[in-house]
């Protein structure tokens, strides 16, 4: 029996020691600020989930890097912002997506449900502080403990590969976000089929994603602490989507949580049906048109104007008019 226990323990020890070393190395690398540097001449970044990810084609907007990521809640956005912002203090502004879907209760499950934990925890575990870790453990400890090892191997592999072998930082690929090129359009079939009608689905306070919004507030505080201007933005959305979403509740949440934060509402940016991939996401055609327009906004320094919302509204109207003429 002693022989068995002794041999089993030594076998497991030889297995665990390299694993611990590899994890520790990954922890040190990922927390090293030099791997979070944005390309030179980056003035703006975009954060958020799939809406901005598909809308901002950053190859067409000079000085802007799109770091939107599909399925990302503010919790994980905060974790990466916490590395990016302190290491890139020359940024002029951070645009954070704040749309109707961001306030919904199910956004909290984007933090800790099984699918999101298994997707994100192995990537972000080195960036968690105690309170973040506690939050996840309190809500879904089972999923954290049972994350497939293959996910850790993949993420740690990427960390070592990008830092030690190809010598590039973590923002040089889309692992932590980037523009997503969509080449399809499903709008016509979506409009012809029945789409969910949330018009009368009034949501009350308990249906608001409190935890998720708390982390949006933390991102805003982080930017303020580092002297970087913050804009909440709402990326272009199809009119059908807007008409059927709880707009009043969205406005109420915006006013009660983020009254003092500038809000750029680009939701009604004029686009044709074939420029949307679906009701919430632009395809490459829509992203191209929108990005060229947004680039002009930035180049004309309209965001620094005290009346920027009004000016943007006017330019959107002008674009609509041009579209109609075309």
């Amino acid at each position: 029996m002693r022989k068995f226990i002794g041999k089993t323990i030594s076998f497991i020890t030889y297995l665990i020691i390299p694993i611990v070393i590899i994890f520790a190395g990954s922890f040190i690398i990922i927390n090293n600020g030099k791997y979070w540097k944005l390309p030179k001449k980056t003035d703006y970044i975009v954060l958020g989930h799939s809406h901005p990810e598909c809308a901002f084609n950053d190859s067409q907007i000079s000085g802007l890097v799109n770091l939107g990521k599909s399925g990302e809640s503010y919790f994980y956005t905060y974790l990466k912002a916490n590395k990016i912002i302190p290491n890139n203090k020359t940024l002029k502004a951070v645009f954070i997506e704040f749309g109707n879907s961001n306030i919904e209760k199910n956004m909290d499950s984007w933090i800790w449900d099984n699918e999101h934990i298994q997707q994100n925890f192995p990537r972000f575990f080195s960036l968690l502080d105690y309170s973040d870790f506690k939050l996840l453990m309190e809500n879904n400890s089972k999923s954290i403990l049972n994350c497939p090892p293959s996910r850790y191997i993949k993420e740690i592999g990427y960390t070592y590969l990008s830092s030690l072998i190809i010598k590039k930082n973590f923002l040089s690929n889309t692992r932590f976000g980037g523009y997503n090129y969509l080449d399809y359009s499903k709008i016509d079939s979506l409009i012809n089929n029945k789409v969910p009608n949330n018009k009368n689905n009034e949501i009350n306070k308990k249906d608001i994603s409190e935890t998720n919004l708390k982390y949006l507030q933390k991102i805003v505080e982080l930017c303020n602490e580092n002297g970087i201007k913050v804009f909440l933005i709402r990326s272009p959305l199809h009119t059908k989507y807007l008409a059927e979403f709880h707009e009043e509740e969205f406005k109420r949440v915006q006013n009660s949580y983020f009254q003092n934060i500038e809000f750029l509402d680009l939701a009604s940016f004029p686009l044709q049906n074939n420029e949307y991939a679906d009701l919430e996401h632009l395809n490459y055609k829509g992203a191209h048109k929108f990005s060229i327009w947004f680039n002009q906004i930035l180049r004309n320094n309209l965001l620094e104007d005290i009346e920027e919302q009004l000016i943007i509204h006017k330019t959107i109207q002008a674009s609509t008019h041009n579209n109609t003429l075309n």
Partner: protein, 482 residues
Amino acid sequence: MLFNSIDFAIFLPIVFVLYWFVTHKNLKWQNFLIVAASYLFYGWWDWRFLSLIIFSTAVDYIIGRELENEGHQIKRKVLLWISISVNLGFLGFFKYYNFFLDNFVTVFTFFDQPINPQGLNIILPVGISFYTFQTLSYTIDVYKSKLKPTRDFIAFSAFVSFFPQLVAGPIERATNLLPQFYKKRSFEYNKAVDGLRQILWGLFKKVVIADNCAEYANLIFNNSEDYSGSTLLLGALFFTFQIYCDFSGYSDIAIGTSRLFGFNLMQNFNFPYFSRDIAEFWRRWHISLSTWFRDYLYIPLGGSRGGTWMKIRNTFIIFIVSGFWHGANWTFIIWGALNALYFLPLMLTKNNRNNLDVVAKGKLIPSIKDLSYILLTFSLTVFAWIFFRAESVGHAISYISEILSPSLLSIPKLADMQNVLITIILVVCFVIIEWFGREEQYAIAKFGLKWRRPLRHAMYYVIIFTIFWFWGKEQQFIYFQF
């Protein structure tokens, strides 16, 4: 608690240490520990269903004792039927209530007599099909005087709830497992090491092969209308390996875990995909269930004695019941009937016991004849699995129709072809390892045993690393739903 979870990785060493270091001097305490650990293991899913196991245990224990004292044949029969009614009653209610209800509604509607009965939202207790059969075997063996009824309630409870095989078998016979709870177990180094090796191999089968195959099998079966015949065939092949590695992987972990505690469970799978005919396949697939049905259903019905019609009837009964045991859906019944159709010609021509030994025993590769029989049997099995996996009979038929269409000749297409190819390579490697280990209890039973320790340990580390690297998305064990 799943075998491939961190919960079990913590649970197992704790129980092991308590078993061999704290309770080892007293058999009763050791058995009691097994009962407590088993109830914890089971209650991890849903503690409410523990009451079912405890009730079933109590009923069969009392009936066993009563059968011992009862000499009157009719009264003995009544006692037996009480046990059968209780066990099958639970099974029938939890597993088949809604199925029968739906079918009654369909039949009445067909005859223009629509009825609107109340369906129930029933949760199927995990493993109910397994432990009810295990307790039934005890009562039937006691009734037939093949087994002396136990007077040790703790040992009997441990036999019914023994955690390694509680939820997905092997379905042990009381005659094999129960006496092991009466005897003091002593720790055997080689047996424990062998147990760990079998656990390792079971984990490989489950998390590397089954879970990766499951991802594509689910994708293809759930969206079958979007795929060509060749992709659907690939989906059927993925499911064929998924179900084998999922279930036999579970059995390997169960048997290996039992060996750590000094118990011997029966072999449940014996390399079934190397079978040369369907009769051989059924001697090698889910052996504990096949032999259960043989001993407690087929033989009492008359078995292969009697006339031709009797043989045909009995064959169909056993296969259809076996199919129905797997689930309350017509797809399982058709799967069972198909296997009966495959089996019948062999039995009627008395060729069902042609292949009793291991294929190509002692040889590196099979003969052309053996290989062609293996491939034929494998193809028939894959065809039958389509019914097993399909959502409905209609789904299975449309799936097969598409496979048999000209699109079968196209190149399979899936969104993630690179990972599909990796999965195929893993399956091929697995089949090769299984082939070389086909004469053993499990494929790697003797593999590397004579190597020097560092090399042998390197092999274990490679397997562990492969498991970690290719760990598929977590999937429930398929047989839990049965």
